[in-house]
């Protein structure tokens, strides 16, 4: 005990000698508290009080005894579990095929795998109805089936698996590429068959990554708002939509908040499991550059089967998004195939403002989010200070919190002075910065852990201070992480809906909200056109970024999912 206190006081003394670090830490803690903890707090409070602001469990009593809400909870969990399992399965299949076989068109498969990340989710859902519904291109025109269940569990699950498959792929791709192929070589050398090598070496080593992916997908699915809004009807309620509708449809803020908290619980559990249990069992088999194996891990016939399966998945994805392009260039999606550019004309007429607004907000929040993410990752990995574990937890917390909860929290937390931010540019930017920071932090931490800490220590002994070390040494070495943080933040900011839908106003609107309202008022083709513009903007951003960062790419070799 005495030693602990001495250690603490020495740490504190060292911290004191480094005033800029101290100030930075305090600033970060304060900012994280205000923009991550405080809104959550507000949501909790409002759900635990009655109309006179006294503590009360009435709201919870009413929703927990409500059969419909209970059904919603069960459905949310059911879909989340199914999506997690199936999404991970497909993701693993895909990642394994790309990493361990020498099929052709790898670049194509890699690109397709992340395409679904670049679309506003509900348009994908519409697309599914177009392909598989009553008049579906695939079901009806090709197979003559009119009764494929697009609404409810099946349609929703398909939509979610497609939407979150990129997340599974990117994680598992990373996992598989860091399992040293020499381990498999060794097993082959010991006369194991291909199947044995897979089941006894590769698969067990992938288990932490698989568990991690499943938990991540579980959380994402629970929070998913766009897909269920379109595909989950009244007979298949899910909590994410219910919370939103309680507020916007029934004007019951307390119920909405309580539902949001209910949704938060399994998310948090999954998050804690993933962070503190699965992560502890990580197997790191490679430090530094991964080598490629010369021995083929799968037989030729297996290779072509895997290739075919990947092809099917890819074509499926391409179809869904091609359908949207089709809608953008025709008069009446699915009903009138006359080619037209009128939809785009409408978008530039009416949607100009929202395009500008969205770009302004995304381009402001993205670099701040990415840089802040790198700084926090640096602090967490390389520095020791009191409260480090708390910092790590808080900064990653937003990852587990469904967008709906965050959105509600922000409107509750920032609609009075001194922080009167509702309806402003600031509230949207702030929401985006802190919402998407976890990915930057995670990839920063992951990459930093692969950098020999001695490199930074050497810089310190040569007289560099913290910011010099960070800017001249650390940042160049973790450029891939910075890059993927930028891309991820931008893509998410451009396609955000579940939190953002509470925060837009007459002054500041987002393209995604516009798209939703277009579909609401019957302008489906225009909605498709909007979506196409959205994708093009995102692709342009990624391209420009790639060119700009090309000469600054680090020499620490790394596979970082997003190309």
């Amino acid at each position: 005990m005495e030693i602990a206190n001495k250690e603490f006081s020495n740490k504190f003394k060292s911290l004191m000698k480094n005033p800029s670090l101290l100030i930075l830490l305090i600033a970060i803690f304060v900012v994280l508290f205000i923009f991550i903890i405080y809104p959550l707090f507000k949501v909790l409070i409002i759900s635990f009080t009655d109309n006179n602001n006294n503590f009360s469990l009435d709201v919870y009593k009413s929703i927990l005894s409500n059969d419909y809400m209970k059904q919603g909870f069960k459905n949310s969990i059911l879909v989340a579990t199914l999506t997690a399992v199936i999404g991970t399965l497909i993701g693993y299949l895909y990642a394994y095929t790309i990493n361990r076989t020498n099929i052709p068109f790898k670049k194509f498969f890699r690109t397709i795998a992340i395409v679904p990340m670049v679309f506003p989710p509900f348009i994908g859902a519409m697309s599914i109805i177009m392909l598989f519904g009553f008049n579906g291109l695939i079901t009806s025109k090709l197979f003559g089936i009119r009764t494929f269940p697009v609404y409810g569990l099946w349609g929703l699950m398909i939509a979610q698996v497609i939407t979150f498959f990129p997340v599974a792929f990117i994680t598992l791709d990373g996992v598989l590429s860091t399992i040293s192929p020499t381990l498999e070589d060794a097993a082959f050398n010991l006369k194991a068959s291909r199947w044995q090598v897979f089941t006894k070496v590769t698969l067990p080593l992938s288990v932490p990554g698989i568990a991690s992916t499943m938990l991540v997908l579980f959380i994402e699915s629970l929070a998913d708002f766009g897909n269920p809004l379109i595909l989950a009807g009244a007979s298949f309620p899910v909590l994410s939509v219910q919370a939103y509708l309680e507020i916007t449809g029934m004007f019951n803020l307390k119920n909405g908040a309580a539902l949001a908290v209910w949704l938060l619980v399994p998310s948090l559990i999954a998050f804690i499991l993933q962070k503190y249990w699965v992560n502890k069992k990580k197997y790191i088999t490679v430090t530094g550059k991964p080598t490629t194996s010369q021995v083929k891990s799968v037989s030729t016939s297996a290779k072509w089967i895997l290739f075919t399966l990947c092809m099917i998945v890819s074509i499926f994805i391409v179809l869904i998004y091609a359908t949207i392009f089709w809608g953008a260039f025709t008069k009446a999606w699915g009903m009138n195939n006359q080619f037209t550019l009128d939809n785009f004309k409408y978008v530039f007429d009416v949607g100009k403002e929202s395009i500008k607004d969205t770009l302004a907000i995304a381009l402001t929040s993205t670099p701040i989010s990415a840089l802040l993410g790198m700084i926090i990752a640096f602090l967490i990995v390389r520095k020791s200070f009191p409260g480090k574990k708390a910092l790590e937890f808080i900064s990653l917390l937003n990852f587990a919190v469904p967008g709906t909860v965050v959105g509600i929290g922000y409107i509750l937390g920032f609609n009075t002075k001194p922080l009167l931010l509702t309806g402003t540019f600031a509230i949207l930017v702030l929401n985006f910065i802190f919402r998407y920071i976890p990915v930057g932090i995670q990839s920063g931490i992951s990459l930093l852990n692969q950098v020999d800490p001695a490199i930074e220590e050497a810089a310190y002994t040569l007289g560099a201070n913290d910011s010099q070390v960070f800017l001249k040494i650390t940042l160049p070495l973790i450029i891939p992480a910075f890059f993927s943080a930028l891309v991820y933040s931008f893509v998410r900011a451009m396609t955000a809906i579940s939190a953002a839908i509470f925060l837009v106003s007459a002054d500041w609107n987002l393209m995604t909200v516009q798209i939703l309202s277009q579909t609401d008022s019957g302008r489906l083709s225009e909605a498709c056109a909007f979506s196409v513009i959205l994708i093009l903007l995102i692709l342009a951003f990624i391209l420009i970024l790639k060119i700009f960062l090309k000469n600054k790419v680090s020499l620490v070799d790394n596979n970082f999912g997003i190309e």
Binding site: M126, A332, D520, S521, G522
Partner: protein
């Protein structure tokens, strides 16, 4: 102001070999099995309006009865009030029940949509505009409201193709179907508000489970 209406996709109608429905009773026909959508009253004010409208026509028990029979033809109860129009537009459903502006927009876009106002009568909603208590720009707000209710303002609502009905009789209705051809039903707002929870509960218990 907005009457509730029935949107029909003519192409799908052909595919299921049904005739254009003219009344609420028509919607119970077996041809429409699994081809109708309306919003979920738990989350949509539109749906509640629909139910209270039916109550005015059939009485409470009669309305529930009707909805139970209709349930067999329902493909999905959508979460949002405008969900049905999306489905009927792209040919996923044959019939959609909701407020009509979206249907008219689809029709304008070139979708094969026809709007029908059932002969038994349809409920309607009036959009309202209010000034927030303690508003900082009260004068300007008043000006806006005055303009909205003026002949000019109401004409704009028609001319800009919002497909909302104006609330003044001295306005040119443009392409909108004349109100004289629509049987509008009044609903006792106070009664509707008081009994909302109870009626929705009834809907959940009696109508929702029916397949």
């Amino acid at each position: 102001m907005n009457p509730l209406g029935v949107g029909v996709n003519l192409k799908v109608l052909e595919q299921i070999k049904a005739e254009l429905p003219k009344s609420w009773a028509d919607l119970l026909k077996p041809e429409f099995k699994n081809m109708i959508q309306y919003p979920n009253p738990q989350t949509s004010g539109t749906a509640y309006t629909f139910i209270t409208g039916l109550i005015s026509v059939y009485g409470e028990d009669g309305a529930m009865d009707y909805l139970k029979k209709l349930a067999k033809n329902i493909q999905s109860y959508t979460q949002s009030g405008t969900g049905p129009s999306k489905a009927v537009g792209i040919g996923q459903a044959a019939v959609a029940i909701q407020f009509t502006p979206a249907f008219f927009e689809f029709k304008e876009q070139g979708y094969p949509i026809e709007v029908v106002f059932p002969v038994e009568g349809v409920p309607y909603e009036s959009a309202c505009v209010s000034i927030v208590k303690g508003a900082a720009h009260k004068t300007e707000a008043n000006t806006l409201i005055d303009w909205l209710l003026s002949k000019k303002g109401q004409q704009v609502i028609v001319d800009e193709k919002t497909y909302f009905y104006p609330v003044r009789a001295d306005v040119n209705f443009g392409s909108l179907q004349p109100l004289s051809t629509i049987k509008l039903i009044s609903v006792d707002e106070a009664w509707a508000a008081e009994n909302k929870n109870r009626i929705i509960e009834r809907w959940i218990k009696e109508v929702l489970p029916v397949k």
